[in-house]
Amino acid sequence: MDFAFNDEQREIQESAKRLIAETASLDQVVALSGSELGYDPEAYKHIAELGWTGMHVPEEFGGVGLTYVELIVVLEQMGGSLYPSPFFASVCLAANALIEGSKIAPLSDDNAALLAAIAAGEKTATLAYTEPGGKYIPPDVKLAARRDGDDYVLNGTKNYVIDGHTADAIVTVARFGEADGEIVLLNVPGDAPGLTRTEAHAVDPTRKLATLEFADVRVPASAAIGDPEFAWSTLNPTMQLGAVALAAESLGAAQHCFDTALTYTKDRVQFGRPIASFQAVKHICADLLMAVEGSRSAAYYAGWVAAEQRDELPAIGPLAKAQVCEAFWETAKANIQLHGGIGFTYEHEAHYYYRRATSSRVLLGDTSFNREMLLQGLGVAPVGAPN
């Protein structure tokens, strides 16, 4: 048994840590969050050259051919600094949809080209799932994909699409029939005629969200990813892998909040001694340590499960997401609390992490949703439920 990173993985970790420290100080992150893109395209090119964007993409699709474990190593470091990048949406959502789709049905030329371009960092992409209902459940997928000759014609709205206003391609979840199962996953170019994209107001300025309006957007049948009659077989594992990725990112962010809070309690003096010597403060920190270390265990295990494509993924993906995002939330809140008044200022970094924790906790389904997915992943379906 070896439940630790190997030498190569540790090297990736070190170089990610170094690069991110040099290029993503909080000031830089905040400055970028004010731009429309929200990231620096040069920096994205650079991490692509380092192989990050193709890390877990199979070599046959132009990737580096490493595993999900290497991917989560990088994600953890990104989370620690709220690293501004289209990486999550492109590599951890869209690329996964294409990779998972390729296991169900061969990728069309366009789709294979998109995956290779994502892996090379030449194109960005995202996944458009949620609609005004905001839920990741079959009845909420209403965006209609009507067949017209060899094309699909799309009409409807997608909300809360990460980087949706700037992504080169939008992997879109659409309904082509009447029943819940009749879902298709389509690769839609970001500049497709009829597609209107607006940056949405987002509580977390370091992760951009967009609203997409589809008015007679036309894509060829070859845009379909995976099974065109039943895209759940692609979308479900994509969501599970996305959950693992978001867990890894949130682990880094939670650790950052914890470290910051702990250091502050040792420096700040009240009543003639460091506040770290007060038991009420100590017990908060002890509980946070347990939450963060437990999250580390869960995120790493989930990374291994994803890398090995083990049958446990449908349970472990949501498990990791729920565990780590809750811990991040607790840590982000406590970080503000333990800083007192200064923690509530705009000046202080704590609120950026609080905002990110708010968003990570609900994106890809909130904690209750992921706990329900966990039970279903274990085969414990509600009695009398369909499928």
Partner: protein, 414 residues
Amino acid sequence: MDLRDTPGEAKLREEIRGWLEANYEPGISQSDWYKVLAESGWAAPLWPEQYGGRGASASEAIIFNQERQKIGAEPPPTGIGVPMAGPTIIAHGTEEQKERFLGPMLRGEEVWCQLFSEPGAGSDLAAIQTRAELKGDTWHVSGQKVWTTHAQLARWGILMARHDPSLPKHAGITYFIMDMQAEGVEIVPLKEMTGEAVFNEVFMDDVEIPDDLRVGALGEGWKVSMTTLANERMALGLGGLGGSDEDAEIKLEEADAESSLETMGKFIRRGPRALIELAERAGAINDPLIRDELARVYTMYEVNRFTGYRITTALMKGRGPGVEASTGKLSYNLLVRAVADLMIRIAGVGALGAPDDDKLLKVAERLNLVVPATSIYGGTDQIQRNIISERVLGMPKEPRTDAEQPFSEIKKGG
């Protein structure tokens, strides 16, 4: 990162399987099995060979434990002896003490108890008042211990006593091995909230202990006790690291109104499936609040299991476990509490007075009554948080007023 066996581990596993096949017979009596384990060194594989262990690596010990569980063979003697008194005697005892005590301990022939807590000294263990006075070569011990688990069964006790009240509290303590059959020892059972009496009061009235049963130097009792307590925390914490172990063959029939904490521990490890079964039976499996909590508790189990892999990896690489191990006891306590609460929630009024033939409900009823103990013994949850924050996180201790002056002059409880 790979959770499967390395080739070396796979080979070890084969060898251990072979050994178990050759040496374990289903239905073997506990005492015979203990003997087999002790003779082969598997009763305490990590101990040095000359003291009855195997000087084994952590991998060997861990793999042995896994394979033993798979075939449903009982663990080596547990309790206070092998997990706590043994390592303390090995670290601080004399050669004669090791010679005399370790063998019978490993064979499970002599039960041990822990004579630490007193009416005035629980969390604040260094506040003990039991006196030990040296006359010639013999110590004379008088005082009272309390909450002493299995004192009524024990042949020997590990004892902390104060040899000099004029010294500051930590400096005046010495550590002994006490003969529980000696004259002047009186054991009075204490009825626990469950109704049984597992722990006791132990009164000592001029009990004689020869100086060669002192463990460590005069005044080093506090330091020696740290070895005992660290091993206790480890033993209690490791209980939870197996996570959900569906192989752990605990039959529900074993559970009854008298079930020990150990039986309950086994039940807890098998827990998630039992919880789900209970929820299905009680018609609660469609209740979204119950489902949410089931998943949350399941997550606690799994997180403990994954953390166990991290600790195992560290041990197998010959590193001491890091921060992840320090939280073991507390996270196990929180898990056990959550399981008990959820069982009662699911069972509802069914858990108020379960019929004897409904083993699942009986477990729920029973667990609810035993579980308050886990967050108290072996250092309360609050004390665990103090330890984590001060020793792991390096947060400063609270200022204290009792550590410097003579023990005889400070305010005491009890």
